[in-house]
Symmetry: C2
Subunit: 271 residues, 2 copies
Amino acid sequence: MADKKWPGCAKSLKGVILDMCGVLYDSGEGDGVAIPGSVEAVRKLKTSDLQLRFCTNETQASREKFVAKLGRLGFDICVPEVFSPAPAVVAVLKERGLRPHLLVYDGLLPEFDTVDKTNPNCVVIGDAAEKFSYANLNDAFRVLIGLEKPLLFSLGQGRYYKETDGLKLDVGVYMKALEYACDLKAEVIGKPSPMFFQSVLNDMGLQPHEVLMIGDDLVNDVGGAQHCGMKGVQVRTGKYRPSDERHPTVATDGTVDNLAQAVDMILNQRN
Amino acid sequence: MADKKWPGCAKSLKGVILDMCGVLYDSGEGDGVAIPGSVEAVRKLKTSDLQLRFCTNETQASREKFVAKLGRLGFDICVPEVFSPAPAVVAVLKERGLRPHLLVYDGLLPEFDTVDKTNPNCVVIGDAAEKFSYANLNDAFRVLIGLEKPLLFSLGQGRYYKETDGLKLDVGVYMKALEYACDLKAEVIGKPSPMFFQSVLNDMGLQPHEVLMIGDDLVNDVGGAQHCGMKGVQVRTGKYRPSDERHPTVATDGTVDNLAQAVDMILNQRN
């Protein structure tokens, strides 16, 4: 029974999924900064017998640019290892014949190059940051309210994240704004959507109980992974706040100081 | 029994409360435009035996400037007849010793001249329109999340309103955004808060059943007034939409084309 608990459960793991912002690095001006020990921790996981994937709600850059940035911070990561909401929503749009009005960061636009955006019949919002001006949000609102059946896709539903100069409002805040304005419920693409986690598990070919998620977001990383049957461990970096440890509905399987500590604990259990 | 229904109920009325934007005028560039027949309708009510008050969630200008604008559109209205959220929240702030961080339209700032705004321990948001930039909303968020007990006042909770060039997002949308970001519930000052309507009734010295509210906002004007025991009639001007007439939870006592028609129906019943 002890082996079902953290860190004993690490003995039977076959894969690990890592959140990126707040776990690997803190975003901010330029490329942001790597969190101490995280570059080495990723290297250790890659040389272990564990499968490794990265799962992010990052929507400010295409995966190519995002992975290149992480490379400059010292991380050895390649594009197919990274799961992010933009490619997922593009697949949904094409499958359902939808033409989006986009309210996303400029850097994400290349992901939508192959999507028909004329005469929009839905709205897609990502973490648009400064592009969440009153005028742009109003434009998105007018598209929605003009549709017979307003349809909003939100790339994640985070409340806020931490950059080097402080906390920043995330896309979920603007999702709630448009939900209220149009009296609708958005479809969330990204964490904590079970469909999104499942696509990562499918890619690994593993069952949920064989996989551990490590993130800084208690609700979307830890709670989302647990909801799918995975274990979830929270790091005390990124957007972590002490009040997370007495959250009314989500309890982690474990809390660690940072990714380096989590990886050392996992690998110690397995040796 | 027929006299409890609109327009028969007008026989026993002692007072009328009018919403302003969307009933008297449509806002937009410059002063906006008076809705046809509304100037004359206000004049007729003023020369009747009915008491008349105005109740608005307008928070883009001080009451003085707002009343001056309506004067330019032809309306004979004076400041003490107008009830708006800013003076109401100032009273609450002073009573509770609160120091606000303000996210409001520049034109509203004079209403807060007498309020201590140093070292804020709460946030007040109004209809800030273009001032609802990402940076400004993030500043308000950081004040809230830095407080031990975050406290948000919202001057109204409207979803949107109509200007001459189209629908515009209202303060309620940003209230929901900050509520979600900080996991809190805002205190709404203005319609449909029962306390706000009651302050108008107190000023008139009337009981709720003696008063009719006329507005273009089904939920905040009509529903809010009905919740206090008043009658509520909706005009088909301003933000009115045909779907309002099959709303799942709010049913008007009557629906009229515009204020002019409502006033003629009221006065016809009384002659």
